[in-house]
Each structure stands twice: as structure tokens, then as C-alpha cells.
């Protein structure tokens, strides 16, 4: 089955491993992805602090090109892009004035956007489009020896999540469970990790990450499973510092759900980008093989 696909800048940068593993998993279960040709950055929430209409235009250019190709749905694995795309649709719908203006600008290069492209996240597609069976069929080695917590973060769930319960999401838990990993209850799964702030003013956000790690450790998780490149980075790069400040060993590997799925499907650590992990200890690496 074919889907249109928008990777976003992060998946070509710090979230490289996310794209690598996601593409591998898709290949394995037969999802064919068609990347939007010559896509541009969605602007992320940072751009919203600069200009409303230009932010709408940045997103709309991608979706307009997709509509031109005959698409009506797009998969975007990055949760910032997921939010921005949804926001654009909502704002174009809620404020007709903005829609007119946006299209006026797009028309400069012969594009128009309806505001109706359905934005989908892999967690939505994999669970709700019936791919779970395919995933189960492809599982070669069950990961029953591991315990993990699933951490969803913010922008996937808030404010526009329609495919899962935003106050108590389940889709990632369901997917990861397919691999045999014991998914633990984790009440912090919808909390903010503060990435956008911590990556710039680290001292202000340490506590957020510390609590996330500490609770996962307390629940005896072997790793944390995430769905966002920024969460992954933020939870990783702060660990050393946190352990120094709080004088407590709360270190844990942070993996993408696609990496966990891939591991169970027998794909190599390198192919899944797990070797790009900053918190990959030799022991953990051995345990994965």
C-alpha cells in the first residue's frame, strides 16, 4: 500500500535513526512510502513566534504539492510537523481570511491548498489501518526479556490528537507489546520533556527530564520508548548532567518505537540506527543482540 510521506528536517538531522528504522520497518511489512518531492521545513513551533501567515504558507506549500500529485493523506513521523500540519488545517478552516491569503501567496507559483489533507502519524497508521497483523507476522525474535515504558510527549497528543485518547494514549503501548516487550504503566507518558527550552537553557529543564527518567527506573524499565526526535535527544543528552546534579543513577537508553519493532523483526542495530544512540552502553548493546 502506498502513502505519501513527509519526513521533516529532524529526521534528516538528529532524528536520523528514527527515519532509518521507520523506513526499514515499512519495507519489512510492505508499506510503500512516496516522499513529497522537494518538501520544505514546516517551520516548527519556533516559526509561529515569527509570523502566522508565513507559517501557514510554509506548511501549505508541502500539502499543496501533495494535492497536486493526487494525494489526500500524508504520514509524518515527526510530532512537531504533525502538530504544525494539523494546526495549519485547523486555522485555514477556522479563519477563512487566512485561507484566502495563504492561497493568494501560493498562487504566485501556481499552487493552491484546500486545507483538507488528512495528517497521519505512524502510530495512527500502523494501528488503525490494519498493519498490526503484518507486524506480528514479521516478528522473528520476541523481546520478552525487556521491560519498557512508552513516552508520548506533547505535540502528538495536544491539542489535535484524534486517533488515540490524548489523556491516556495506548497506540504505542499496543505496538511495542507486539514485540513481547513488557510495557509498564507510566503515568508520565503525556508530560512535557521541555526539549525546546532545555536544549537552549539546560539548567531550567533538568528537573523535567530527571523525573521522567527516575520514574522509568523506579518501574524497572530497561529503556524508554519515544516517538519524537526531540524527546529522544533531550532525554539522552541531559543524562550525564542530571546524574551529576541529582547524584543519582537514572541513566536509561532511549529508543524509538520503530527501532523496537525493527529489533524484533531481526533487523540489525546498525540498520536501525541504534548505534547512533548517545546512551548506548556496551552492556545494553550486547543484551539487544
Amino acid at each position: 500500500m502506498k502513502y505519501f510521506y513527509y519526513p521533516g528536517c529532524s529526521l534528516r538531522g538528529m532524528g536520523k535513526a528514527y527515519e532509518e528504522s521507520w523506513l526499514k520497518v515499512c519495507q519489512k511489512i510492505g508499506i510503500h512510502l512516496e516522499e513529497i518531492e522537494d518538501w520544505n521545513c514546516c517551520g516548527s513551533t519556533t516559526y509561529l513566534g515569527f509570523d502566522e501567515i508565513k507559517s501557514l504558507v510554509l506548511v501549505s506549500r508541502n500539502l499543496a504539492m501533495l494535492e497536486k500529485e493526487g494525494g489526500s493523506e500524508v504520514i509524518t513521523p515527526c510530532i512537531a510537523c504533525y502538530y504544525l500540519f494539523n494546526r495549519t488545517n485547523h486555522n485555514l478552516r477556522d479563519y477563512p481570511q487566512l485561507k484566502t491569503e495563504t492561497n493568494k501567496m501560493l498562487q504566485e507559483v501556481g499552487l493552491t491548498y484546500s486545507g483538507n489533507v488528512k495528517v497521519r502519524h505512524p502510530l495512527d497508521v500502523l494501528v488503525n489501518d490494519g498493519w498490526m497483523e503484518k507486524i506480528s507476522q514479521n516478528i522473528e525474535k520476541r523481546l520478552e526479556r525487556f521491560k519498557a515504558v512508552c513516552y508520548y510527549g506533547c505535540q502528538l497528543l495536544r491539542p489535535y490528537c484524534e486517533f488515540d485518547n490524548p489523556k491516556n494514549p495506548k497506540n504505542m503501548d499496543i505496538l511495542v507489546s507486539l514485540t513481547g516487550v513488557d510495557v509498564l504503566d507510566y503515568p508520565l507518558k503525556t508530560k512535557c520533556c521541555g526539549a525546546i527550552i532545555t536544549s537552549n537553557i539546560p539548567e531550567k529543564g533538568l528537573e523535567l527530564v530527571y523525573v521522567l527518567l527516575k520514574e522509568a527506573r523506579k518501574r524497572k524499565a530497561d529503556f524508554i520508548v519515544v516517538t519524537c526526535p526531540l524527546c529522544q535527544f533531550n532525554l539522552e543528552f541531559q543524562q550525564e548532567k542530571i546524574m551529576k546534579v541529582y547524584e543519582e543513577d537514572v541513566g536509561l537508553p532511549i529508543l524509538y518505537y520503530t527501532q523496537v519493532l525493527g529489533l524484533a523483526m531481526g533487523i540489525s542495530l546498525k540498520e536501525l540506527g541504534i548505534t547512533r544512540c548517545l546512551t548506548l552502553t556496551p552492556e545494553f548493546e550486547r543484551s539487544l543482540i
Binding site: 489523556k167 491516556n168 503515568p187 508520565l188 528537573e207 523525573v211 520514574e215
Partner: protein
């Protein structure tokens, strides 16, 4: 269409209703427009037509200008048609020469574009002028008013209304869905601000219901059908089986003792699941009727059909009857009082507050039971995890004042939270934190009660808690529930560890409100409570004549207000009953004898069999005492000679034309 136009002299009046109408509809323009119409002698606008000067204005005009048709454009005829008919009568004119135009409910209140609203009003007024020419003088009809009253709901409101009516000698049917009367008030511990015990003031009234010969009490029963109209309602009530005969049971409890279940196993409804009961039980010691009831969903006999039926042999009075079936009872009443109360907001809709997740999070109603001497813990505050709290957080406005839950302020939560704070402090000596948004204490001695609480060293933190969590950040938080809140007055974020959380849940319409509104054909306001006829001047009446509302089914309110409304609705019902009769519209049908062809089309269509065929004349005739005035026969008659008073073809056709062609 034969009307002698020369004789007709119309007076037209459009009401401003303050700014209600005049703020949207250009009343001057309408007045000028109508003044130019044929036969219109007087055309006026006035601030309040329904006021005494307004009515006098019409009377004076009728006399001075020899008016013989009156059109009043104001509010709904359902509200003031009677008023203006009386006005005509006082001036010596037949009241049915009146035609009303509804320019408030159907125009001013529902349209915001002034120009379009004025245009619509113009059409409506023109239609009325057209129609009124064809109005005919009619005689009023009186029908006897049935003396009995039905009260739906056996909480404090229903009980109070019933006792007032019964003491005036009226027969009252009190219908309650639950196995006992008493409602929410019976569950409360103390009442604010006087702190007298709820049971102490309520149970004597409950017993009085049982003792009173004029009250027929049907618990475990529901109203399922209401037919008829004011003075003459026919009501069907479903009495669900109790499996214990109320007339024989004396509430000794032998049956409960002997039940095959040695231990109580099922959540006790009255204690909100904080304690357990057996399948056969008495809701609470002072329940009225003080009779056991068998819950057929949990009783072994009903579940599996094989039980030793120890209860049966234990009852010396042979009160237990497994063969009881649901029964339908039909009664006739003149008036109905609805007092179905409220239900509390379900805090599980907001998982952030941890209700149902953390055992030590309670709703305020559960706390009422918890601190009650006859409650599950005999009044000792022992939490679900077996500990006693040293610190307690009370969070106000749960489910209230929110677009996401209920928009309204539930009115009683601030006061009952203060009361619970006081009682919990007395019971536990714990540190108590109240988290409020705005402290609302309007009411006699209410602010004084707040003052008293301030002196009790209770904390008052202005800010709504966002989250209840057990994830601790510092040592002293371990094992506690932590409340994260903005102390908005100090402008800081605080984390407060407590042992117990009380959620001050709001009040919302009880479950069957919508169903009952449908059965009774009474309106609901936007928030889902029953709609009163007028928010200020008819607070216990509804748009259905003869049906009254009292207590929280109309909107959240405290006990004093509830009791006041209960009294008011009893008095309103009594005023109708004691008049002995009521006037109905003379809207019956009649046949223009000479033109009837005797085709009999109308006979089968009449729902009341009011039309018969006269073999000798070969024509039909209408029995006007049986006719209720629906007009279906009139619509059916192929010759157009079946006429419905006030709704004759001429009147309606001219109204139609008036709406479409007016310039």
C-alpha cells in the same frame, strides 16, 4: 369570504418590552406601516403593553374609537394571550376579537440583524391584521379541575410540596424512583451554615409522609406516560417490583440476617459504594418506607433460580413475595409538580484529578457519608487505604465553570466545601487546604460562616489545582498525593502534599431529565435543567400549564431555596385546584349543517369519536363536549364546511396571504 369591511375597526399595538423587542425590531416603522392598512383605526407602540397603563390604553381606545378588533404584537400568546383577552373583556369587547403576534420569542430574541427582524415582524403583523378581520365572537368554556396532584421525586422538594398540599386536604401521589424517599439530603451529614444534622431535620418530614392519609407514596416507581392537559392529566406510573410487600414488612431485618449471603458483598448505593450490602437490604435505617427490598440483579434466586430462600422462612409476616411483577397504574390528576433533583458531576471525566485511580481521592458526596455517624465508618474518617488523614485538600469547582464540563457555577459547592472543611477539621484535626477560584457565599449567614472558617485556621488558596499525582519530587512528598497549584494571590507555583483529596463536584441535571421533559412536554434550558416559564416572575411554572418545577431539577440550589420553591409550587398548584374549574379555549369544531354532504370522511378521523352521523338528516354533527379542538376533521372535510373555532379556513388562509404579500 364575506366580511363586511365597513364595520371593522382595528386597533394595533406593538410592545417594546423594554428593549427586548424595541432593541431589535424598529417598532416605529411597524406602527407606521400598519397604520396605513385598511380598517386600522389606531396604531400605537408602547413600552410595556402588558402593564396596567398599557392595558388601560387599549381599553380607552376601544371605547373612544369604537374598536372591534385588536391586534397586539408582543410576546408569545402562550404567555400573555389571557392577559389581553381580559383587557378586551373589561372594555366590553368579546375577548376572541384579539389576535396576538409573537414578535419577541419568534423575532427579537432569535434574530440579530435588525433590518431582517423588522421585515419579518412586518409580515407577521400584517398577517394578524388580515386574520383578525375574520375572528368571531366566542363563548369561554369551563371544565372542572381534577383535585389530585402528582409529585415526581421524593427528595426534600417533593416531600415538602407533598406535605403542604396534603395538609390542605389535597390528595397527593408522591412517586419516587429509588426504594426510599429522602433524596440527596438524606445522604448529607450536616447542613450549612447552621450545621444542624440533615437527618434530624429531614427524617421527621419523611415519617410525616408515611403517616399522612392524603399522601399515596409509590417508591421504586417511575412516571412513564402523561396524557391530557391542565386540570385533567392522565398519568401512567410503572411500579417496579420490590419483592417485599410494603404493607406487611415492618423493617425488622430478619430477612437480611438470614440471607444466603453471609457477608454483605455488593456496593451499597446509599453509601456510594463505601460499604457493602446484601441482595436483600434496607437502604438506610430511617428509610421510608421502612421496608426491605430485593435487588433482582444480585439475588441468587433471580440469578440462578436455586436458592434456599432463607429470607422467605425468616419473615414472620410473610412479606416476601418473589412473584411480584412490575405493575402499571393509571391515575387522574389536575396538576403535576416535578422535583427530580440533580446528579453529581462524574470526576472521572477529568482523569487529572485521579478519582478512581488513587483510593484516597473522594467526591464531596462520599465525604458526606464518610463523616456521617451512620455512615460506612460510623463517622470516623478512615480512608480507603485504612489510614487517617493528617492533611486534606479540598478542590472547588470540579466540573463547574468550564466549557469542557458544565459551564455554570453550581452555587452550593463553595458553601458545602466550607462545611466539609469545618467537619473534617473537627473529625481529624488535619491540616486542611481549600483550593478555590472565587469564594461565593451569598446567603443568610453564609459569609459569616466563611469568616468562622478563616478563624479555624483552614488554608484558603486561590487557584485551581491542575493535577493530583503520587509522583514525588522531594522526601516529604513520598507516599502522599501531591497537588500542583498556582497560588494566584502570591503568584507562585506550589506543590502541596496531602493524604486525602476531596473533589467538590458540581451539580448537573439528573439522568432522566430529558426523558421526563419529553413525557411531560416541558422545556429544558440550554444546560439541560427544566426551563421555568419566566426566570423572575414565574420561576416554578413551566410552559405547560399545570406543570410546576421545584428544587434542583430547575437548576443548582441549596436546601433553603429548594424548600422555598417546593412551597411555591404547592401554592401555585393549590390556587388552580381551588378555583375548581379552568377555562379552555372554545376551539371546538362545528358543521355548517346546510352544506354537509354526509360523506362521513370526518367520522373516522376524529380521535375522540366526537362526530356522529345523523341518519335522518343524512348529515354529521359534532358533540362539543367530547371535541378537544385539534382541527383534524376540519382539514379533512372535502366540502370545507367543518369549521374549527378560532382556526377557520378563512382565518388561516388570510394569515398565509398576509405573511407573503404585504407591500
Amino acid at each position: 369570504m364575506s366580511t363586511n369591511n365597513k364595520e371593522i375597526r382595528i386597533g394595533f399595538y406593538i410592545c417594546h418590552c423594554g428593549t427586548n423587542i424595541a432593541g431589535v425590531v424598529d417598532v416605529d416603522k411597524i406602527r407606521e406601516f400598519i397604520a396605513k392598512k385598511d380598517n386600522v383605526v389606531v396604531s400605537r407602540n408602547y413600552k410595556y403593553m402588558c402593564s396596567d397603563p398599557g392595558q388601560e390604553l387599549i381599553q380607552k381606545d376601544i371605547q373612544e374609537h369604537r374598536l372591534n378588533r385588536i391586534v397586539v404584537a408582543s410576546c408569545s400568546p402562550l404567555l400573555h394571550e389571557k392577559t389581553f383577552r381580559n383587557t378586551l373583556e373589561k372594555a366590553g369587547l368579546n375577548p376572541f376579537y384579539l389576535q396576538m403576534v409573537n414578535v419577541r420569542e419568534h423575532v427579537a430574541w432569535v434574530h440579530s440583524d435588525n433590518e431582517k427582524a423588522t421585515e419579518k415582524a412586518k409580515a407577521l403583523c400584517n398577517a394578524a391584521i388580515n386574520r383578525v378581520r375574520y375572528n368571531k365572537p366566542l363563548e369561554k368554556k369551563r371544565v372542572p379541575f381534577h383535585q389530585d396532584v402528582l409529585i415526581i421525586g421524593g427528595g426534600i422538594a417533593g416531600i415538602h410540596s407533598a406535605l403542604i398540599l396534603a395538609s390542605a386536604g389535597k390528595k397527593v401521589y408522591l412517586v419516587e424512583k429509588k426504594p426510599t424517599i429522602g433524596g440527596h439530603m438524606a445522604m448529607f451529614d450536616k447542613t450549612f451554615p447552621t450545621l444542624d444534622c440533615a437527618a434530624c431535620i429531614l427524617t421527621p418530614k419523611m415519617s410525616a409522609i408515611k403517616e399522612n392519609k392524603n399522601v399515596v407514596l409509590w417508591t421504586n416507581s417511575e412516571v412513564i406516560k402523561v396524557e391530557g392537559y391542565v386540570g385533567n392529566f392522565k398519568v401512567t406510573i410503572k411500579r417496579n417490583p420490590r419483592y417485599v410487600r410494603e404493607d406487611l414488612c415492618i423493617g425488622c431485618g430478619q430477612c437480611i440476617e438470614s440471607c444466603s449471603y453471609k457477608e454483605a458483598k455488593y456496593p451499597d448505593e446509599f453509601n456510594l459504594g463505601l460499604s457493602k450490602r446484601k441482595p436483600i437490604y434496607i437502604p438506610f435505617p430511617q428509610a421510608i418506607p421502612n421496608s426491605a427490598i430485593i435487588d433482582d440483579k444480585t439475588c441468587i434466586h433471580f440469578k440462578m433460580g436455586k436458592c434456599k430462600q432463607m429470607c422467605l422462612s425468616a419473615c414472620e409476616r410473610n412479606a416476601i413475595d418473589f412473584n411480584q411483577k412490575e405493575e402499571l397504574r393509571e391515575i387522574q390528576v389536575g396538576a403535576i409538580i416535578v422535583a427530580t433533583g440533580f446528579k453529581i458531576y462524574d470526576p472521572q471525566k477529568e482523569p487529572e484529578y485521579g478519582y478512581g485511580v488513587y483510593p484516597n481521592v473522594y467526591t464531596s458526596l462520599e465525604v458526606e457519608r464518610l463523616i456521617n455517624a451512620s455512615g460506612p465508618t460510623a463517622g470516623e474518617v478512615i480512608l480507603r487505604d485504612g489510614t487517617k488523614p493528617k492533611s486534606i485538600g479540598i478542590i472547588h469547582c470540579i466540573g463547574s465553570r468550564s466549557e469542557k464540563a458544565n459551564k455554570w457555577c453550581s452555587r452550593v459547592c463553595c458553601m458545602y466545601s466550607l462545611k466539609l472543611a469545618y467537619l473534617l477539621k473537627k473529625h481529624t484535626h488535619a491540616e486542611i487546604y481549600n483550593f478555590y477560584i472565587d469564594m461565593r457565599t451569598p446567603g443568610k449567614m453564609y459569609e459569616e460562616f466563611y469568616d468562622r472558617l478563616l478563624m479555624e485556621r483552614v488554608h484558603f488558596i486561590r487557584g485551581k489545582v491542575a493535577e493530583v499525582t503520587d509522583i514525588s519530587l522531594v522526601k516529604e512528598e513520598e507516599g502522599k498525593l501531591i497537588l500542583r497549584v498556582e497560588d494566584t494571590l502570591a503568584s507562585v507555583i506550589r506543590r502541596i502534599p496531602v493524604d486525602m483529596v476531596v473533589l467538590s463536584v458540581g451539580l448537573e441535571p439528573s439522568e432522566d431529565t430529558q426523558k421526563l421533559a419529553h413525557i411531560l412536554n416541558i422545556g429544558l434550558s440550554a444546560e439541560g435543567f427544566f426551563q421555568e416559564r419566566h426566570p423572575k416572575l414565574a420561576p416554578v411554572s413551566t410552559f405547560s400549564e399545570g406543570i410546576f418545577i421545584a428544587g434542583c431539577c430547575q437548576g443548582p440550589k441549596d436546601i433553603p431555596d429548594t424548600v422555598a420553591q417546593a412551597g411555591a409550587s404547592a401554592a401555585e398548584a393549590m390556587a388552580m385546584i381551588d378555583a375548581g374549574y379552568f377555562e379552555i379555549e372554545p376551539i371546538t369544531a362545528h358543521v355548517l349543517d346546510e352544506f354537509c354532504s354526509g360523506c362521513k370522511s370526518c367520522i373516522n378521523i376524529c380521535p375522540y369519536s366526537a362526530i356522529s352521523y345523523d341518519e335522518s338528516k343524512k348529515k354529521v354533527f359534532v358533540n362539543e363536549t367530547l371535541c378537544k379542538g385539534c382541527g383534524t376533521c376540519s382539514a379533512t372535510c372535502p366540502s370545507g364546511v367543518m369549521k374549527q373555532n378560532l382556526f377557520e379556513d378563512d382565518q388561516i388562509l388570510n394569515e398565509i396571504e398576509g405573511l407573503l404579500v404585504y407591500e
